[in-house]
């Protein structure tokens, strides 16, 4: 099963974090990601720029709207994602609780439903749990 770990936390500038805090954060993430790779469960790891760099786009109201900033203007933002391939939720939880971001924020674990592989959508979750239009 594939799971995406969404790292939600309050954004901090380098000034707020301090040089040392920044270095420690980097070291912790490096150790964590190396361990994921070593275990052969890492699919991808992305740490994102602050949400101030976000742009949103929508046509939901009939016309194109492009806006600066994140989708939801909340105190906590998505700071990164890890995609891991593990047997079940227990294993995903075991990794999520070791994620450095869990120390200062919240890690959300979401299973993949379908995945686009070689020109087709492939179900990775049981069929009955899929949304109707994808069955």
């Amino acid at each position: 099963m594939r799971y995406t770990l969404f790292l939600h936390y309050q954004e901090m500038t380098t000034d707020q974090l301090g040089e040392e805090g920044m270095e420690e954060g980097k070291a912790a993430f490096h150790a964590y990601t190396t361990a994921l790779e070593d275990a052969g469960v890492l699919v991808s790891a992305e740490v994102l720029l602050p949400s101030a760099h976000s742009t949103t786009v929508t046509l939901a109201n009939g016309s194109l709207r492009v806006q600066d900033g994140p989708y939801a203007d909340t105190k906590e933002q998505i700071g990164g994602t890890f995609v891991i391939d593990v047997p079940d939720l227990d294993a995903a939880l075991a990794w999520a609780e070791k994620c450095p971001a869990a120390q200062w924020g919240t890690v959300e674990i979401r299973p993949t439903s379908v995945r686009f592989v070689d020109g087709a959508w492939v179900a990775v979750a049981p069929l009955e749990s899929l949304p109707q239009h994808l069955r």
């Binding site: 912790a28 047997p87 070791k98 450095p100 120390q103």
Partner: protein, 412 residues
Amino acid sequence: LMSSVQAAALQAERAARASYGRLLAILAAPAGDIELAEDCLADAFQRALATWPESGVPHNPEAWLLTAARNRRRDVLKSATHRTWLPIDAAPADALAVTTIDDIEVDSIPDRRLALLFVCAHPAIAADVRTPLMLQTVLGFEATQIAQAFLIRPGAMAQRLVRAKRRIRAARIPFIVPDSVRMPERLPAVLEAIYGAYAIDWPVVAGTGVRDSLAYEAQYLAVTLAELLNDEPEAHGLAALISLSLSRTAARGSADEFVPLDEQDTTRWDADLIAQGECHLRRAHALARVGRFQLEAAIQSVHCARAATGRTDWQALRNLYDALVAMAPTLGARVARAAAIGRADGAECGLAALNEIGDAGVQRFQPAWATRAHLLAEMGRTEDAARARAKAISLTTDPAVRRYLERIGSTL
């Protein structure tokens, strides 16, 4: 792993730390003002650094430092800025007297660290800041070092520590050792906080190396507590537990290689730490009041006995785990009990004990699956064992442990 040079450096550091904790406790006790005591002590240490190289180290450095710090405190308390927020009458009388070094007898410097430990683990102090507070006030650690060990932002840790210290002063948490009536309700928090420094449930994956150094500090705190609180069996139990567990550090392997207890080379166990642990265990036993830490220490002692006897007494371990589970039925203890039963009475009995654990958390508890795999393999249920082992491996985030599990899986 520590070399002898590192060990010597650690000893020297500890001597300085012992002074630090003793002096801080004395300076902070009268008004409960840890922050002021820290500032005065820092000032005294700075003066020492500036003057001792020229004038020579005084024959009683601790008395010198205490005098310098007390005089500094007097100056601060008298200063105008301080007066604006603290009425001068609120300062204890002795805080305003000029101290000379002759006022202090070498042997009369009291050890108030015990009271300080009880202040740090007071019920009014948040549980998650008790261990950091002990590390800072009793051992003189910087907030940054503590933050590193707990994987918390240094700023956040400093803030928590300051908040706790202000609370101690504002609420006037007394610097006293609880009497025998209060002791049973107050001691567990002190023991837990010290144990917390030893058994930080490491948030990161293995191989960071910080763990060893804090474990030695926890051992120092536990031994200090046991010596100061001589007739409390659980204090000796904790000192024994940490000493005995720590004795096997060098034989446990490295970040790349995990060596399970059974396969450890006993000549690499630290005989001094074992002797120290056994001594505390005997002293605890003589007080004839059994407790959780003593039982855990006794379990460690049975394992350590293999260094002398060449064998492990699994019957004794099973009995100790029975007693421990009756007293503190943690998930870890119950799984370890099942493993001991498996060794003492056979794998089937062990598996039955494992299946009896009803806790929902057992499904995602790695040691439970590793134990199950081991028991099933012993029973010849190879396929079931492989499945359990795969589950254990999927729950293992430590690379060395995972490699070990994969290795034993491939030899079956």
